[in-house]
Protein backbone atom coordinates (compact mmCIF):
# COMPACT_ATOMS: atom_id res chain seq x y z
CA UNK A 1 0.00 0.00 0.00
CA UNK A 2 1.34 3.40 -0.92
CA UNK A 3 -1.36 5.79 0.31
CA UNK A 4 -3.14 5.73 3.68
CA UNK A 5 -6.22 7.92 3.76
CA UNK A 6 -6.17 9.70 7.13
CA UNK A 7 -9.05 12.06 6.34
CA UNK A 8 -11.12 11.63 3.19
CA UNK A 9 -12.08 15.26 2.50
CA UNK A 10 -15.63 15.97 1.43
CA UNK A 11 -16.00 13.56 -1.52
CA UNK A 12 -12.64 12.42 -2.80
CA UNK A 13 -12.74 9.71 -5.45
CA UNK A 14 -10.56 7.95 -8.00
CA UNK A 15 -11.14 9.33 -11.50
CA UNK A 16 -9.57 9.03 -14.94
CA UNK A 17 -10.88 10.20 -18.32
CA UNK A 18 -13.97 8.06 -18.07
CA UNK A 19 -15.86 5.03 -19.28
CA UNK A 20 -17.41 5.64 -22.71
CA UNK A 21 -19.65 3.08 -24.38
CA UNK A 22 -22.30 2.25 -21.77
CA UNK A 23 -24.44 5.39 -21.71
CA UNK A 24 -27.13 3.47 -23.62
CA UNK A 25 -27.57 1.34 -20.47
CA UNK A 26 -27.54 4.27 -18.07
CA UNK A 27 -23.87 4.02 -17.08
CA UNK A 28 -22.41 7.49 -17.59
CA UNK A 29 -18.95 8.49 -18.70
CA UNK A 30 -17.77 9.52 -15.20
CA UNK A 31 -14.12 10.61 -14.99
CA UNK A 32 -12.71 13.98 -13.93
CA UNK A 33 -15.17 16.86 -14.13
CA UNK A 34 -12.25 19.10 -15.13
CA UNK A 35 -10.45 16.91 -17.64
CA UNK A 36 -7.94 19.62 -18.56
CA UNK A 37 -6.59 19.86 -15.00
CA UNK A 38 -6.69 16.09 -14.54
CA UNK A 39 -4.60 15.51 -17.67
CA UNK A 40 -2.17 18.32 -16.79
CA UNK A 41 -1.61 16.88 -13.29
CA UNK A 42 -0.85 13.51 -14.85
CA UNK A 43 1.71 14.97 -17.27
CA UNK A 44 3.45 16.73 -14.35
CA UNK A 45 4.21 13.34 -12.75
CA UNK A 46 5.14 11.50 -15.96
CA UNK A 47 1.84 9.63 -16.28
CA UNK A 48 -0.28 9.18 -19.37
CA UNK A 49 -2.94 11.90 -19.61
CA UNK A 50 -5.76 9.53 -18.69
CA UNK A 51 -4.22 7.70 -15.73
CA UNK A 52 -6.24 7.46 -12.53
CA UNK A 53 -5.89 10.33 -10.04
CA UNK A 54 -7.80 11.52 -6.98
CA UNK A 55 -10.47 14.17 -7.51
CA UNK A 56 -11.06 16.20 -4.33
CA UNK A 57 -13.99 18.60 -4.15
CA UNK A 58 -14.21 21.73 -1.95
CA UNK A 59 -12.23 20.15 0.93
CA UNK A 60 -9.02 18.19 0.38
CA UNK A 61 -8.06 14.86 1.94
CA UNK A 62 -5.19 14.09 4.30
CA UNK A 63 -3.00 11.27 3.02
CA UNK A 64 0.05 9.55 4.49
CA UNK A 65 2.42 8.15 1.88
CA UNK A 66 3.98 4.82 2.80
CA UNK A 67 6.65 5.07 0.13
CA UNK A 68 8.49 7.88 -1.70
CA UNK A 69 6.44 9.31 -4.55
CA UNK A 70 6.21 12.11 -7.10
CA UNK A 71 2.95 14.06 -7.06
CA UNK A 72 1.27 17.13 -8.56
CA UNK A 73 -1.98 18.93 -7.78
CA UNK A 74 -3.81 20.91 -10.48
CA UNK A 75 -7.24 22.47 -10.82
CA UNK A 76 -8.81 24.34 -7.92
CA UNK A 77 -6.73 26.83 -5.99
CA UNK A 78 -6.50 24.78 -2.81
CA UNK A 79 -3.21 25.19 -0.89
CA UNK A 80 -1.14 21.99 -1.00
CA UNK A 81 0.88 21.05 2.07
CA UNK A 82 3.48 18.39 2.72
CA UNK A 83 3.98 17.87 6.46
CA UNK A 84 2.23 21.19 6.94
CA UNK A 85 4.53 23.19 4.66
CA UNK A 86 2.79 24.86 1.73
CA UNK A 87 3.80 23.77 -1.77
CA UNK A 88 2.97 25.18 -5.20
CA UNK A 89 0.04 23.81 -7.24
CA UNK A 90 0.41 22.82 -10.95
CA UNK A 91 3.98 21.75 -10.03
CA UNK A 92 5.89 18.48 -9.76
CA UNK A 93 6.54 17.71 -6.07
CA UNK A 94 8.49 14.99 -4.25
CA UNK A 95 6.99 13.39 -1.17
CA UNK A 96 8.80 10.93 1.07
CA UNK A 97 7.61 7.84 2.85
CA UNK A 98 5.70 8.72 6.04
CA UNK A 99 5.13 12.31 4.97
CA UNK A 100 1.55 13.61 4.99
CA UNK A 101 -0.13 15.43 2.13
CA UNK A 102 -2.87 17.81 3.24
CA UNK A 103 -4.75 20.84 1.97
CA UNK A 104 -5.65 24.32 3.16
CA UNK A 105 -8.99 26.00 2.60
CA UNK A 106 -10.21 26.37 -0.94
CA UNK A 107 -9.45 29.82 -2.39
CA UNK A 108 -10.90 29.49 -5.89
CA UNK A 109 -12.36 26.77 -8.10
CA UNK A 110 -13.95 23.61 -6.74
CA UNK A 111 -11.99 20.48 -7.66
CA UNK A 112 -8.32 19.61 -7.15
CA UNK A 113 -6.71 16.75 -9.09
CA UNK A 114 -4.03 14.86 -7.19
CA UNK A 115 -1.84 12.89 -9.58
CA UNK A 116 0.78 10.46 -8.32
CA UNK A 117 3.50 8.96 -10.51
CA UNK A 118 2.29 5.59 -11.81
CA UNK A 119 -1.38 6.37 -11.20
CA UNK A 120 -3.82 4.91 -8.67
CA UNK A 121 -4.10 1.14 -8.93
CA UNK A 122 -7.74 0.13 -8.66
CA UNK A 123 -9.40 -2.50 -10.86
CA UNK A 124 -10.35 -1.48 -14.39
CA UNK A 125 -14.14 -1.86 -14.67
CA UNK A 126 -15.73 -1.64 -18.13
CA UNK A 127 -12.55 -0.05 -19.43
CA UNK A 128 -12.00 2.59 -16.76
CA UNK A 129 -10.86 3.17 -13.16
CA UNK A 130 -13.36 6.02 -12.69
CA UNK A 131 -15.74 6.02 -9.76
CA UNK A 132 -19.47 6.07 -10.53
CA UNK A 133 -20.71 6.33 -6.94
CA UNK A 134 -24.45 6.30 -7.75
CA UNK A 135 -24.00 2.89 -9.40
CA UNK A 136 -21.41 1.68 -6.85
CA UNK A 137 -19.15 1.03 -9.83
CA UNK A 138 -15.41 1.38 -10.44
CA UNK A 139 -12.91 3.41 -8.45
CA UNK A 140 -12.11 2.26 -4.93
CA UNK A 141 -14.91 -0.19 -4.02
CA UNK A 142 -17.35 1.86 -6.09
CA UNK A 143 -17.41 4.79 -3.67
CA UNK A 144 -15.76 7.97 -2.43
CA UNK A 145 -12.86 7.48 -0.03
CA UNK A 146 -13.16 6.99 3.74
CA UNK A 147 -10.62 7.35 6.53
CA UNK A 148 -8.69 4.12 6.84
CA UNK A 149 -8.76 3.27 3.13
CA UNK A 150 -5.41 2.25 1.64
CA UNK A 151 -4.62 2.71 -2.05
CA UNK A 152 -1.96 1.11 -4.23
CA UNK A 153 0.00 2.73 -7.03
CA UNK A 154 1.07 1.38 -10.40
CA UNK A 155 4.78 1.57 -11.35
CA UNK A 156 5.96 5.01 -12.46
CA UNK A 157 6.39 5.37 -16.22
CA UNK A 158 8.72 8.31 -16.80
CA UNK A 159 10.65 10.77 -14.65
CA UNK A 160 9.75 14.46 -14.49
CA UNK A 161 12.09 16.86 -12.68
CA UNK A 162 10.78 18.09 -9.32
CA UNK A 163 9.81 21.75 -9.66
CA UNK A 164 8.48 21.40 -13.22
CA UNK A 165 5.47 23.66 -13.52
CA UNK A 166 2.61 24.58 -15.85
CA UNK A 167 2.95 28.33 -16.39
CA UNK A 168 0.01 30.36 -15.05
CA UNK A 169 -1.05 31.54 -18.52
CA UNK A 170 -1.43 27.93 -19.66
CA UNK A 171 -3.65 26.93 -16.72
CA UNK A 172 -7.38 27.00 -17.17
CA UNK A 173 -10.24 27.89 -14.83
CA UNK A 174 -13.59 29.68 -14.81
CA UNK A 175 -12.16 33.03 -13.63
CA UNK A 176 -14.04 35.69 -11.69
CA UNK A 177 -17.12 36.02 -13.91
CA UNK A 178 -17.73 32.71 -15.61
CA UNK A 179 -19.61 32.53 -18.89
CA UNK A 180 -20.82 29.13 -20.09
CA UNK A 181 -21.31 28.94 -23.84
CA UNK A 182 -24.46 27.15 -25.00
CA UNK A 183 -25.60 25.78 -28.33
CA UNK A 184 -29.41 26.17 -28.25
CA UNK A 185 -31.36 23.16 -29.53
CA UNK A 186 -33.02 19.89 -28.44
CA UNK A 187 -36.41 21.20 -27.16
CA UNK A 188 -35.57 24.92 -27.47
CA UNK A 189 -38.85 25.38 -29.37
CA UNK A 190 -40.81 24.62 -26.18
CA UNK A 191 -40.05 28.06 -24.67
CA UNK A 192 -41.13 31.47 -25.95
CA UNK A 193 -38.66 33.74 -27.78
CA UNK A 194 -38.87 36.16 -24.84
CA UNK A 195 -37.97 33.37 -22.36
CA UNK A 196 -35.06 32.29 -24.56
CA UNK A 197 -33.73 35.84 -24.60
CA UNK A 198 -34.14 36.17 -20.83
CA UNK A 199 -32.23 32.94 -20.17
CA UNK A 200 -29.11 34.41 -21.77
CA UNK A 201 -29.58 37.90 -20.30
CA UNK A 202 -30.02 36.88 -16.68
CA UNK A 203 -27.26 36.30 -14.18
CA UNK A 204 -27.58 32.92 -12.48
CA UNK A 205 -26.13 31.57 -9.27
CA UNK A 206 -24.89 28.03 -8.63
CA UNK A 207 -27.34 26.30 -6.24
CA UNK A 208 -26.21 24.08 -3.33
CA UNK A 209 -27.31 21.07 -5.43
CA UNK A 210 -24.11 20.94 -7.46
CA UNK A 211 -22.41 17.58 -7.79
CA UNK A 212 -20.91 15.17 -10.29
CA UNK A 213 -24.32 14.34 -11.73
CA UNK A 214 -25.44 17.89 -12.36
CA UNK A 215 -25.09 21.56 -11.50
CA UNK A 216 -28.29 23.43 -10.67
CA UNK A 217 -28.62 27.20 -11.14
CA UNK A 218 -30.98 29.73 -9.56
CA UNK A 219 -31.84 33.38 -9.72
CA UNK A 220 -32.92 33.99 -13.30
CA UNK A 221 -36.47 34.60 -14.48
CA UNK A 222 -38.77 31.57 -14.84
CA UNK A 223 -39.16 30.39 -18.44
CA UNK A 224 -42.48 30.67 -20.23
CA UNK A 225 -43.56 27.81 -22.42
CA UNK A 226 -45.25 27.75 -25.78
CA UNK A 227 -48.76 26.35 -25.17
CA UNK A 228 -49.40 22.82 -26.47
CA UNK A 229 -51.54 19.73 -26.17
CA UNK A 230 -49.27 17.30 -24.23
CA UNK A 231 -48.08 14.48 -26.51
CA UNK A 232 -49.18 11.01 -25.35
CA UNK A 233 -46.80 9.64 -22.71
CA UNK A 234 -45.11 12.96 -21.92
CA UNK A 235 -46.98 14.04 -18.83
CA UNK A 236 -49.05 17.14 -18.24
CA UNK A 237 -46.44 19.67 -17.11
CA UNK A 238 -45.38 21.99 -19.95
CA UNK A 239 -41.74 21.07 -19.24
CA UNK A 240 -42.41 17.32 -19.70
CA UNK A 241 -41.37 15.34 -22.78
CA UNK A 242 -41.61 11.63 -23.63
CA UNK A 243 -38.57 10.41 -21.71
CA UNK A 244 -35.54 10.77 -23.97
CA UNK A 245 -31.76 10.60 -23.75
CA UNK A 246 -29.94 13.49 -22.12
CA UNK A 247 -26.71 14.79 -23.71
CA UNK A 248 -23.78 15.60 -21.40
CA UNK A 249 -23.97 19.33 -20.75
CA UNK A 250 -27.65 19.48 -21.66
CA UNK A 251 -29.67 22.07 -19.77
CA UNK A 252 -33.04 20.88 -18.48
CA UNK A 253 -35.37 23.26 -16.70
CA UNK A 254 -38.07 21.33 -14.77
CA UNK A 255 -41.22 23.45 -14.50
CA UNK A 256 -39.24 26.27 -16.15
CA UNK A 257 -37.61 27.46 -12.93
CA UNK A 258 -34.11 26.12 -12.20
CA UNK A 259 -31.75 25.14 -15.02
CA UNK A 260 -29.87 21.89 -14.38
CA UNK A 261 -26.72 21.18 -16.40
CA UNK A 262 -25.82 17.49 -16.54
CA UNK A 263 -22.16 16.59 -16.00
CA UNK A 264 -19.86 13.54 -16.10
CA UNK A 265 -22.06 11.30 -13.86
CA UNK A 266 -25.20 12.38 -15.76
CA UNK A 267 -28.48 10.58 -15.54
CA UNK A 268 -28.70 9.26 -19.09
CA UNK A 269 -32.30 10.18 -19.77
CA UNK A 270 -35.57 11.39 -18.43
CA UNK A 271 -38.73 13.35 -19.05
CA UNK A 272 -37.75 17.02 -18.87
CA UNK A 273 -37.29 19.29 -21.85
CA UNK A 274 -33.82 20.70 -22.52
CA UNK A 275 -33.19 24.08 -24.10
CA UNK A 276 -29.67 23.41 -25.33
CA UNK A 277 -26.27 22.09 -24.39
CA UNK A 278 -23.13 23.61 -22.85
CA UNK A 279 -20.35 23.21 -25.41
CA UNK A 280 -17.61 20.65 -24.76
CA UNK A 281 -14.96 23.37 -24.28
CA UNK A 282 -16.78 24.78 -21.25
CA UNK A 283 -17.67 21.55 -19.42
CA UNK A 284 -14.39 21.63 -17.45
CA UNK A 285 -15.24 25.14 -16.21
CA UNK A 286 -18.50 23.94 -14.65
CA UNK A 287 -16.52 21.41 -12.62
CA UNK A 288 -14.67 24.33 -11.01
CA UNK A 289 -17.74 26.37 -10.02
CA UNK A 290 -18.66 26.76 -6.34
CA UNK A 291 -22.17 27.00 -4.91
CA UNK A 292 -23.39 30.62 -4.79
CA UNK A 293 -20.97 31.62 -7.54
CA UNK A 294 -22.53 33.78 -10.25
CA UNK A 295 -22.47 32.62 -13.86
CA UNK A 296 -24.03 33.56 -17.17
CA UNK A 297 -24.92 31.56 -20.23
CA UNK A 298 -23.97 32.82 -23.69
CA UNK A 299 -25.46 31.67 -26.98
CA UNK A 300 -23.07 30.32 -29.63
CA UNK A 301 -23.38 28.57 -32.97
CA UNK A 302 -21.69 25.27 -33.94
CA UNK A 303 -18.73 27.02 -35.65
CA UNK A 304 -17.90 28.87 -32.43
CA UNK A 305 -18.31 25.69 -30.38
CA UNK A 306 -15.83 23.87 -32.63
CA UNK A 307 -13.41 26.82 -32.61
CA UNK A 308 -13.55 26.95 -28.80
CA UNK A 309 -12.85 23.22 -28.67
CA UNK A 310 -9.76 23.74 -30.88
CA UNK A 311 -8.58 26.62 -28.67
CA UNK A 312 -8.62 24.41 -25.58
CA UNK A 313 -6.83 21.64 -27.46
CA UNK A 314 -4.17 24.11 -28.64
CA UNK A 315 -3.69 25.37 -25.09
CA UNK A 316 -3.28 21.82 -23.80
CA UNK A 317 -0.88 20.98 -26.64
CA UNK A 318 1.35 23.81 -25.37
CA UNK A 319 1.41 22.19 -21.92
CA UNK A 320 2.24 18.87 -23.51
CA UNK A 321 5.07 20.50 -25.48
CA UNK A 322 6.65 22.09 -22.42
CA UNK A 323 6.57 18.99 -20.22
Amino acid sequence: MALDILKPGLATAVQDLGRPGYYNLGIPLSGGMDRFSLAAANLLVGNDEGDAVLEAVFLGPEIRFTSDAVIAVAGADMPVKIDGIEQPTWTTLAIKANQVLSFGFLKAGARAYIAIAGGIDVPVVLGSRSTYALGALGGYQGRTLKAGDALDLLPAKRAVAVGTTVEPDLRRGPGASPVLRVLPGLYWHRITAEAGKGFFEDTWKVAPEADRIAYRFRGGRPLEFVPREPPFGAGSDPSNIVDSCYPYGSIQVPAGTEPIVLHRDAVSGGGYFMLGTVISADMDLIGQLQPNQKARFAVVAMEEALAARKDVQTQFAQIRATL
Partner: protein, 291 residues
Amino acid sequence: MTTRYSFGGDEHIFVEVNEEMSLDGFFKSLSMTNAVRDMKIAGVTEICPANASFQIKYDPDVIAPDDLLVELKRLESVADAADSTLSTRIIEMPVYYNDPWTHETQMRFRERHQDPTGTDLQYAARINGYATIDAFIAAHAGSPWFVSMVGFVAGLPFLYQMVERDKQLQTPKYLRPRTDTPKLTIGHGGCFGAIYSVRGAGGYQMFGITPMPIYDPAQEISYLRDFMIFFKPGDIVKFKPIDRAEYDAVLAAVADGTFVPLIKPVTFSLDEFKADPQATNAKLLGVLHGA
Protein backbone atom coordinates in the same frame (compact mmCIF):
# COMPACT_ATOMS: atom_id res chain seq x y z
CA MET B 1 -44.41 10.62 -37.23
CA THR B 2 -42.03 13.48 -38.05
CA THR B 3 -38.35 12.98 -37.38
CA ARG B 4 -36.56 15.96 -35.90
CA TYR B 5 -32.76 16.32 -35.74
CA SER B 6 -30.93 18.61 -33.35
CA PHE B 7 -27.34 19.02 -32.18
CA GLY B 8 -26.75 18.56 -28.44
CA GLY B 9 -23.70 20.79 -28.19
CA ASP B 10 -20.73 19.88 -30.39
CA GLU B 11 -20.62 16.20 -29.31
CA HIS B 12 -24.18 14.86 -29.68
CA ILE B 13 -26.87 14.52 -32.30
CA PHE B 14 -30.34 14.11 -30.84
CA VAL B 15 -33.06 12.59 -33.00
CA GLU B 16 -36.71 12.70 -32.02
CA VAL B 17 -38.50 10.09 -34.10
CA ASN B 18 -41.92 10.96 -32.73
CA GLU B 19 -43.05 13.59 -30.26
CA GLU B 20 -45.52 11.19 -28.64
CA MET B 21 -44.87 7.68 -27.38
CA SER B 22 -45.80 4.77 -29.62
CA LEU B 23 -44.36 1.38 -30.45
CA ASP B 24 -43.92 2.60 -34.05
CA GLY B 25 -41.69 5.39 -32.78
CA PHE B 26 -39.74 2.96 -30.62
CA PHE B 27 -39.22 0.49 -33.48
CA LYS B 28 -38.01 3.21 -35.83
CA SER B 29 -35.61 4.54 -33.20
CA LEU B 30 -34.32 1.01 -32.56
CA SER B 31 -33.81 0.23 -36.24
CA MET B 32 -32.04 3.53 -36.86
CA THR B 33 -29.68 2.96 -33.93
CA ASN B 34 -29.04 -0.61 -35.10
CA ALA B 35 -28.21 0.73 -38.56
CA VAL B 36 -25.79 3.29 -37.08
CA ARG B 37 -24.12 0.51 -35.08
CA ASP B 38 -23.79 -1.68 -38.18
CA MET B 39 -22.21 1.18 -40.15
CA LYS B 40 -19.37 1.47 -37.60
CA ILE B 41 -18.95 5.18 -38.32
CA ALA B 42 -15.51 6.38 -37.19
CA GLY B 43 -15.86 8.91 -34.37
CA VAL B 44 -19.17 7.61 -33.01
CA THR B 45 -18.67 6.74 -29.33
CA GLU B 46 -22.18 6.19 -27.90
CA ILE B 47 -25.40 4.98 -29.57
CA CYS B 48 -28.35 5.41 -27.23
CA PRO B 49 -31.89 4.41 -28.22
CA ALA B 50 -34.73 5.86 -26.14
CA ASN B 51 -38.51 5.48 -26.10
CA ALA B 52 -39.28 7.38 -29.29
CA SER B 53 -35.98 9.15 -29.88
CA PHE B 54 -32.27 8.41 -29.83
CA GLN B 55 -28.93 10.07 -29.33
CA ILE B 56 -25.51 9.65 -30.91
CA LYS B 57 -22.38 10.90 -29.18
CA TYR B 58 -19.41 11.50 -31.43
CA ASP B 59 -15.97 13.02 -31.48
CA PRO B 60 -16.12 16.13 -33.69
CA ASP B 61 -12.32 15.90 -34.15
CA VAL B 62 -12.93 12.67 -36.09
CA ILE B 63 -16.22 13.37 -37.91
CA ALA B 64 -17.66 16.79 -38.69
CA PRO B 65 -21.10 17.31 -37.09
CA ASP B 66 -22.73 18.14 -40.43
CA ASP B 67 -21.24 15.04 -42.09
CA LEU B 68 -22.66 12.79 -39.37
CA LEU B 69 -26.03 14.51 -39.68
CA VAL B 70 -26.11 13.73 -43.42
CA GLU B 71 -25.29 10.06 -42.68
CA LEU B 72 -28.10 9.78 -40.13
CA LYS B 73 -30.68 11.36 -42.40
CA ARG B 74 -29.70 8.91 -45.12
CA LEU B 75 -30.35 6.03 -42.69
CA GLU B 76 -33.86 7.20 -42.02
CA SER B 77 -35.19 5.84 -45.31
CA VAL B 78 -33.50 2.49 -44.60
CA ALA B 79 -35.14 2.38 -41.17
CA ASP B 80 -38.55 3.19 -42.63
CA ALA B 81 -38.28 0.10 -44.80
CA ALA B 82 -36.98 -2.11 -41.98
CA ASP B 83 -38.84 -5.20 -40.87
CA SER B 84 -40.59 -4.53 -37.57
CA THR B 85 -40.04 -8.04 -36.24
CA LEU B 86 -37.81 -8.52 -33.24
CA SER B 87 -36.15 -11.66 -31.92
CA THR B 88 -36.21 -11.05 -28.22
CA ARG B 89 -37.07 -12.72 -24.90
CA ILE B 90 -39.90 -12.65 -22.40
CA ILE B 91 -39.07 -12.53 -18.70
CA GLU B 92 -41.32 -13.24 -15.74
CA MET B 93 -40.63 -10.83 -12.88
CA PRO B 94 -42.06 -11.57 -9.43
CA VAL B 95 -43.53 -8.46 -7.77
CA TYR B 96 -44.66 -8.02 -4.19
CA TYR B 97 -47.32 -5.33 -4.72
CA ASN B 98 -48.37 -3.04 -1.88
CA ASP B 99 -45.25 -3.99 0.08
CA PRO B 100 -44.21 -2.44 3.43
CA TRP B 101 -40.97 -0.80 2.16
CA THR B 102 -42.35 1.31 -0.67
CA HIS B 103 -45.30 2.07 1.63
CA GLU B 104 -42.98 3.40 4.33
CA THR B 105 -41.18 5.54 1.74
CA GLN B 106 -44.47 6.90 0.36
CA MET B 107 -45.51 7.98 3.82
CA ARG B 108 -42.20 9.77 4.41
CA PHE B 109 -42.68 11.87 1.26
CA ARG B 110 -46.46 12.22 1.42
CA GLU B 111 -46.47 16.02 1.31
CA ARG B 112 -44.88 15.80 -2.16
CA HIS B 113 -47.78 13.72 -3.51
CA GLN B 114 -50.97 14.76 -5.30
CA ASP B 115 -53.04 12.86 -2.73
CA PRO B 116 -51.45 13.27 0.72
CA THR B 117 -54.21 11.27 2.46
CA GLY B 118 -53.95 8.05 0.44
CA THR B 119 -51.31 5.72 -1.02
CA ASP B 120 -49.79 5.68 -4.49
CA LEU B 121 -51.78 2.53 -5.37
CA GLN B 122 -55.08 4.01 -4.14
CA TYR B 123 -54.42 7.18 -6.11
CA ALA B 124 -53.40 5.35 -9.30
CA ALA B 125 -56.39 2.99 -9.08
CA ARG B 126 -58.80 5.88 -8.64
CA ILE B 127 -57.55 8.10 -11.46
CA ASN B 128 -57.40 5.14 -13.84
CA GLY B 129 -60.99 4.15 -13.08
CA TYR B 130 -60.41 0.99 -11.00
CA ALA B 131 -62.73 0.39 -8.03
CA THR B 132 -60.09 -1.37 -5.92
CA ILE B 133 -56.32 -1.57 -5.75
CA ASP B 134 -56.63 -5.31 -6.40
CA ALA B 135 -58.35 -4.57 -9.72
CA PHE B 136 -55.60 -2.08 -10.55
CA ILE B 137 -52.87 -4.60 -9.68
CA ALA B 138 -54.63 -7.18 -11.86
CA ALA B 139 -54.48 -4.75 -14.78
CA HIS B 140 -50.84 -3.89 -14.06
CA ALA B 141 -49.82 -7.54 -13.90
CA GLY B 142 -52.27 -8.72 -16.54
CA SER B 143 -50.47 -7.83 -19.75
CA PRO B 144 -46.81 -7.83 -20.77
CA TRP B 145 -44.65 -4.70 -20.88
CA PHE B 146 -42.09 -3.73 -23.48
CA VAL B 147 -38.65 -2.37 -22.44
CA SER B 148 -38.52 0.76 -24.58
CA MET B 149 -35.44 2.35 -22.99
CA VAL B 150 -32.71 1.53 -20.47
CA GLY B 151 -31.23 4.43 -18.57
CA PHE B 152 -31.68 7.31 -16.16
CA VAL B 153 -29.39 5.36 -13.83
CA ALA B 154 -27.46 2.15 -14.48
CA GLY B 155 -29.71 -0.58 -15.83
CA LEU B 156 -33.11 1.01 -15.11
CA PRO B 157 -35.71 -0.16 -17.66
CA PHE B 158 -38.53 2.05 -18.90
CA LEU B 159 -41.55 -0.16 -19.62
CA TYR B 160 -44.36 0.43 -22.07
CA GLN B 161 -47.57 -1.46 -21.40
CA MET B 162 -48.61 -3.72 -24.30
CA VAL B 163 -52.31 -2.83 -24.47
CA GLU B 164 -54.43 -0.50 -26.57
CA ARG B 165 -53.74 3.13 -25.81
CA ASP B 166 -57.11 3.70 -24.12
CA LYS B 167 -56.32 0.88 -21.65
CA GLN B 168 -52.83 2.08 -20.76
CA LEU B 169 -52.31 3.02 -17.14
CA GLN B 170 -51.26 6.64 -16.74
CA THR B 171 -50.23 8.60 -13.65
CA PRO B 172 -48.49 11.90 -13.08
CA LYS B 173 -45.11 11.93 -11.34
CA TYR B 174 -44.88 13.16 -7.74
CA LEU B 175 -45.38 16.93 -7.45
CA ARG B 176 -41.78 17.18 -6.25
CA PRO B 177 -39.38 14.24 -6.66
CA ARG B 178 -38.52 12.14 -3.61
CA THR B 179 -34.93 12.01 -2.44
CA ASP B 180 -35.32 8.29 -1.74
CA THR B 181 -36.76 5.25 -3.51
CA PRO B 182 -36.11 1.67 -2.35
CA LYS B 183 -33.96 -0.43 -4.65
CA LEU B 184 -36.06 -2.58 -7.04
CA THR B 185 -39.22 -0.49 -6.66
CA ILE B 186 -41.79 -0.94 -9.43
CA GLY B 187 -42.70 2.63 -10.37
CA HIS B 188 -44.96 4.43 -12.81
CA GLY B 189 -44.90 7.91 -14.36
CA GLY B 190 -46.75 9.20 -17.41
CA CYS B 191 -47.48 6.04 -19.42
CA PHE B 192 -44.20 4.40 -18.40
CA GLY B 193 -43.39 1.79 -15.85
CA ALA B 194 -39.89 1.64 -14.37
CA ILE B 195 -37.88 -0.67 -12.16
CA TYR B 196 -35.47 1.31 -9.97
CA SER B 197 -32.18 -0.56 -10.33
CA VAL B 198 -30.50 1.32 -7.47
CA ARG B 199 -31.74 3.16 -4.41
CA GLY B 200 -32.04 6.90 -4.94
CA ALA B 201 -34.10 9.88 -5.98
CA GLY B 202 -37.27 9.33 -7.99
CA GLY B 203 -40.56 10.87 -8.96
CA TYR B 204 -42.60 7.88 -10.15
CA GLN B 205 -45.57 6.47 -8.23
CA MET B 206 -44.55 3.33 -6.30
CA PHE B 207 -46.63 0.15 -6.62
CA GLY B 208 -44.45 -2.65 -5.30
CA ILE B 209 -41.02 -4.22 -5.17
CA THR B 210 -39.31 -7.13 -6.87
CA PRO B 211 -36.89 -9.49 -5.11
CA MET B 212 -35.08 -10.04 -8.44
CA PRO B 213 -31.97 -7.81 -8.77
CA ILE B 214 -31.44 -6.27 -12.21
CA TYR B 215 -28.09 -4.52 -11.64
CA ASP B 216 -25.07 -6.00 -9.89
CA PRO B 217 -21.79 -4.09 -10.30
CA ALA B 218 -20.01 -6.84 -8.31
CA GLN B 219 -21.34 -9.45 -10.80
CA GLU B 220 -21.92 -12.01 -8.05
CA ILE B 221 -25.58 -12.79 -8.74
CA SER B 222 -25.75 -15.95 -10.84
CA TYR B 223 -27.62 -14.51 -13.84
CA LEU B 224 -25.62 -11.23 -13.82
CA ARG B 225 -22.15 -12.78 -13.94
CA ASP B 226 -21.76 -12.27 -17.70
CA PHE B 227 -22.89 -8.67 -17.58
CA MET B 228 -23.89 -6.47 -14.67
CA ILE B 229 -27.05 -5.11 -16.33
CA PHE B 230 -30.03 -7.38 -16.91
CA PHE B 231 -32.30 -5.46 -19.30
CA LYS B 232 -31.89 -4.24 -22.85
CA PRO B 233 -34.35 -2.40 -25.11
CA GLY B 234 -36.75 -4.82 -26.75
CA ASP B 235 -37.04 -7.17 -23.77
CA ILE B 236 -40.61 -8.11 -22.82
CA VAL B 237 -41.57 -8.34 -19.13
CA LYS B 238 -44.54 -10.00 -17.45
CA PHE B 239 -45.10 -9.17 -13.78
CA LYS B 240 -46.23 -11.96 -11.46
CA PRO B 241 -47.87 -10.88 -8.19
CA ILE B 242 -46.35 -12.65 -5.17
CA ASP B 243 -46.96 -12.48 -1.42
CA ARG B 244 -44.53 -11.85 1.44
CA ALA B 245 -43.67 -15.53 1.88
CA GLU B 246 -42.78 -15.94 -1.78
CA TYR B 247 -40.88 -12.64 -1.76
CA ASP B 248 -38.74 -13.88 1.12
CA ALA B 249 -38.23 -17.24 -0.59
CA VAL B 250 -37.00 -15.57 -3.82
CA LEU B 251 -34.69 -13.27 -1.83
CA ALA B 252 -33.17 -16.31 -0.13
CA ALA B 253 -32.81 -18.10 -3.46
CA VAL B 254 -31.08 -15.07 -5.01
CA ALA B 255 -28.72 -14.94 -2.02
CA ASP B 256 -27.72 -18.60 -2.26
CA GLY B 257 -27.42 -18.53 -6.05
CA THR B 258 -30.29 -20.91 -6.81
CA PHE B 259 -32.76 -18.37 -8.24
CA VAL B 260 -33.18 -18.73 -11.98
CA PRO B 261 -35.40 -16.13 -13.66
CA LEU B 262 -38.03 -17.56 -16.01
CA ILE B 263 -36.92 -16.41 -19.48
CA LYS B 264 -38.06 -17.68 -22.89
CA PRO B 265 -36.99 -16.59 -26.38
CA VAL B 266 -39.82 -15.07 -28.45
CA THR B 267 -40.35 -13.35 -31.76
CA PHE B 268 -42.34 -10.14 -31.60
CA SER B 269 -44.02 -8.70 -34.66
CA LEU B 270 -45.20 -5.11 -34.37
CA ASP B 271 -47.72 -5.54 -37.21
CA GLU B 272 -49.19 -8.65 -35.60
CA PHE B 273 -49.44 -6.83 -32.27
CA LYS B 274 -51.14 -3.80 -33.80
CA ALA B 275 -53.63 -6.02 -35.61
CA ASP B 276 -54.58 -7.96 -32.47
CA PRO B 277 -52.87 -7.05 -29.18
CA GLN B 278 -54.78 -9.58 -27.10
CA ALA B 279 -54.01 -12.53 -29.34
CA THR B 280 -50.35 -11.49 -29.56
CA ASN B 281 -50.09 -11.20 -25.78
CA ALA B 282 -51.80 -14.56 -25.29
CA LYS B 283 -49.25 -16.13 -27.63
CA LEU B 284 -46.34 -14.50 -25.76
CA LEU B 285 -47.67 -15.70 -22.41
CA GLY B 286 -48.15 -19.16 -23.89
CA VAL B 287 -44.45 -19.25 -24.77
CA LEU B 288 -43.52 -17.97 -21.30
CA HIS B 289 -45.48 -20.68 -19.54
CA GLY B 290 -44.51 -23.41 -21.96
CA ALA B 291 -47.96 -23.89 -23.49
